[in-house]
């Protein structure tokens, strides 16, 4: 098995709506970690499995490695939660980049709450599948260009 789709971890959403966690998407402490093709995202997984690190599929063993990339990924910056048009709530951020990087085998990324410690540390928020292409960069900048429609949008 491997990547086949992007998604929002449903237990994270449910825990947030039930006030079990406080997921503030406009914080700038969330991180983007890059993963290879060994992960099989389960968006219906329990919270303890939908996290960065040991306990689920999003382990360092499945994360990419390379020059210019530190395990755990990069911070998501200039985050915004807005209401751009009727019925739409949009979460967005500045493009995420790794400079002076040599990395290969990039198939997708996990966005997780790096500052969250309880009940589950590093709770996964969502994962983005890059479409099946194995991306790579050699001594350059690898940039995730988020859509003009944001990273995530809730529509009616």
């Amino acid at each position: 098995m491997a990547w086949s789709a992007s998604g929002f971890f449903r237990q994270t959403m449910a825990d947030n709506l039930n006030n079990i966690i406080v997921l503030n998407l406009d914080l700038e402490t969330h991180k983007v970690a890059l993963f290879g093709n060994s992960v099989t995202p389960d968006y219906d997984a329990a919270a303890s499995a939908a996290k960065y690190g040991t306990g689920g599929t999003w382990t360092t063993a499945n994360e990419v490695t390379g020059t210019g990339y530190t395990a755990g990924g990069a911070l998501l910056t200039s985050t915004t939660v807005t209401t751009p048009s009727a019925g739409i709530v949009m979460w967005d951020a500045a493009d995420t980049a790794w400079s002076s990087a040599t990395i290969s085998g990039i198939y997708g990324c996990l966005i997780y709450a790096d500052a969250m410690t309880t009940p589950v540390a590093d709770q996964g928020i969502l994962a983005v599948y890059f479409g099946g292409t194995s991306y790579a960069v050699t001594a350059g900048t690898f940039t995730i260009q988020w859509s003009a429609n944001g990273i995530y949008r809730n529509t009616p």
């Binding site: 789709a5 992007s6 998604g7 929002f8 406009d26 700038e28 200039s78 915004t80 939660v81 807005t82 209401t83 751009p84 949009m90 967005d92 500045a94 493009d95 969502l126 983005v128 890059f130 940039t143 995730i144 260009q145 988020w146 859509s147 003009a148 429609n149 944001g150 990273i151 995530y152 949008r153 809730n154 529509t155």
Partner: protein
Amino acid sequence: MAKKVTVADVDQAEAALAEAKKGKDASRRQQAMEELAQVRSAWRRQEEEAGRRVGLVTIDSED
């Protein structure tokens, strides 16, 4: 014709949001977020139309 959005416009809006996030004024913070989101989306659309952006990464809750 719509005004062309530049990287400097995006940088300026990001700086304004960074300042707003330091304070406790929720309405100012929200306004800064709305302004940044608007200018950033406009810039990205412009770049996509010009063929300078290849990424298109969005998760829609309907998916």
